[in-house]
Symmetry: C2
Subunit: 408 residues, 2 copies
């Protein structure tokens, strides 16, 4: 993409609504725009990151036999009365009426809709197990929206729902999803800690969150220094020894990047979803659900991977692989841009009539992994200058070797 | 995907809510599920079709310099007061209040939001032109939802918005989008007619619809038999000669699969969006917008491409390329399935314990382009049977040649 032909504007000043570093950098770098409190547009640069994250999530969900689909945001009141959640969600539901005075919510989650779908189509153990997932917009009527993309009122979420004939088979599947989640975070450049969590308005006998340890996070967790045990402080308050091994306990602020739930037969019983097992007995279906907030995940990557100049995207989710800068060498740069594009290398080309200072500052702010500069100095040597965003050294590379150099 | 491991249930009976053939076949074939009047889930088979359509649309929008992004569904009342549309949309807006009694709509369209975004970021002719598009959920508070996916209350839409410094440049761009739209429909297996249209609640000086001629459609158009002229009857009522060439006029029922608008400076003036031109003069930005309803496009493909047995998907948007059926030959079929998957061929594998009749009927209903059957008869000849959905003849192909045969 040539910047001159696109929709592009960066900001030098810290925006007043930026309560944390990820919001500041994503707003200044043209990744997001605030429409109203807790309501954002994702601009083209940000959307490219989201699409990369979505691709990783889809691959890992497909690898645990997930099938992607899409449920509607509008959900009729009747379904929420069946589970007694119409007036008992926290935060409360957004509610609206259609022109015939029929009541709906725009859903913060989809247990009611999917269970309604499944009860019409599953009758036998032969129909189980299966897992469905969607990447879809959710709405939450928060009291106060804070922290940019970390607590919003409308957001893209990957929510998955699995259905099983028995508890043992479900628990094995739950473990597989945990492993898939760890792979997702790792591929996005993050390490996440599995912790015991409070199930909130979703319910179920047990739930787990995935926490990324950062300087600033909404959540506080207890971590054992000796074993793997960890828990959100909402679950276990005021302890000084690890309940698993007796080891020392540490406290840490953290960002939740995923929440998965052992729903068991909670919704199946409330909404009457049964199947016939091998012996001909009627049983409630066992169910799990698995969420990842996509915008929040993008923000968390920025929260962890940045320096005083801007964002440092990992290659896997960077909006482009190469940020090409022309310093008064538009003809050479345009030729190189075309070569990079032809070689399938995602390139952002800064062809604006701006100073070197402005262009370098924007490149550092936006955080694309590799910066290529074509200037009178490099041209004299039939070369360009390549710099990696997370390293200090500059490398001179002959123009005819650039594509190979980037691809290696 | 092995059917035994997925979420799969077809229906023999015509559902009572099926008012047209596309709704009947998409419901019976497990592509969609009705949640409430005019509100549908898109099931895994349907979602694969939608994703194929989305990929085609993205490629064609990117080819006319579009940048994908995402705007929120929740839109504050204040923005809609600026354009005087809060109480004047047809159908009327869905309206809701947040917990602080602030009013929002869940948007049927996004002119207000994008113009608000653009006015903060565009100031000079150097910032123009550009085009942004999104594939996003829209909400319409229809009086009556009819015709399955053809008139719904919640739907996925590709909406694009372009911004220009002058009318001539805009009109050239508008023509490029028309060509991109024709490529989209052609790639989806459809031919669409460009017609003059009524601009409705969107407004602007001129708009065009793309119409697919079908037996059953919501719209009626006038077509000239002698020249290219065509118009929705909403625009020109009661004519008997072509206004362009004087030729004979025909009348036809049709389905609208796209609507594009020459908005000009309508929204720029209402919302105060100006730029400074080369001479230093302040001018309103010239704007166009371009919509395609994605679910409606999927339904239209089915409306056109079907026979008495079911859907006939074109290869470009088929949920899978191959429908593999095992008739008591699970070992050979499983091996062939793995070979097809390894070769990158999207394959739906019917590994259920069902009769040949059930499996063949489902294959015809679902409409995947190629059916491969492995049976005792074919195995005796180390072969399988390949049938194309839109042809009658069967072809025997040696098992070791199947991948090459499918790929050619």
């Amino acid at each position: 993409m040539k910047i001159s032909q696109g929709f592009f504007k960066t900001f030098k000043e810290k925006p007043k609504e930026a309560e944390n570093i990820s919001t500041e950098l994503l707003l200044r770098g043209n990744f997001i725009d605030k429409e109203a409190s807790g309501i954002y547009s994702i601009l083209p640069l940000g959307w490219r990151v989201i699409q990369k994250i979505n691709k990783i999530i889809r691959e890992e969900m497909d690898a645990v036999n997930g099938q992607e689909f899409q449920m509607p945001a509008l959900q009729p009141k009747e379904l929420w009365l069946e589970t007694d959640r119409w007036d008992h969600m926290d935060p409360p539901l957004f509610k609206l009426k259609d022109r015939h005075d029929k009541e709906f919510t725009i859903g913060p989650t989809h247990e009611e809709v999917i269970v309604d779908l499944v009860r019409d189509r599953v009758s036998s153990f032969r129909d189980l197990p299966f897992m469905l997932y969607q990447i879809q917009t959710k709405f939450r009527n928060e009291q106060r929206s804070t922290g940019g993309l970390l607590r919003v009122r409308e957001f893209l979420m990957k929510d998955a729902y699995s259905f099983h004939a028995d508890v043992k088979e479900f628990e094995e599947y739950y473990q597989k999803v945990i492993e898939a989640y760890h792979r997702i975070y790792k591929r996005c450049g993050l390490g996440a800690k599995l912790v015991e969590a409070h199930s909130g308005s979703i319910g179920g006998k047990k739930s787990n969150e995935f926490m990324v340890l950062t300087k600033e996070g909404e959540d506080t967790i207890y971590l054992c220094g000796a074993c793997d045990w960890a828990a959100n402080i909402e679950v276990v308050k005021n302890i000084d020894k690890c309940p698993a091994c007796g080891g020392e306990i540490k406290k840490s602020k953290a960002i939740e990047v995923g929440h998965i739930f052992m729903l068991g037969d909670l919704y199946s019983k409330k909404m009457g979803v049964t199947f016939t097992d091998k012996s001909g007995n009627t049983k409630p279906i066992i169910m799990g659900c698995y969420g990842i907030g996509i915008g929040r995940l993008m923000a968390t990557i920025v929260e962890v991977l940045n320096d005083e100049k801007g964002i440092i995207w990992p290659k896997s989710v960077a909006p482009y692989q190469v940020h090409l800068i022309s310093l008064d060498q538009d003809e050479t740069a345009a030729k190189l841009y075309q070569e990079l594009i032809d070689a399938g290398i995602e390139t952002l080309y800064d062809d604006r009539q701006e100073s070197a200072g402005v262009k370098f500052a924007d490149a550092d702010l936006i955080g694309i992994p590799k910066r290529i500069t074509v200037s009178p100095k490099t041209i004299a040597d039939k070369s360009c200058e390549i710099k990696e965003r997370n390293k200090e050294n500059l490398e001179m590379v002959k123009l005819e070797k650039v594509v190979d150099h980037i691809k290696k």
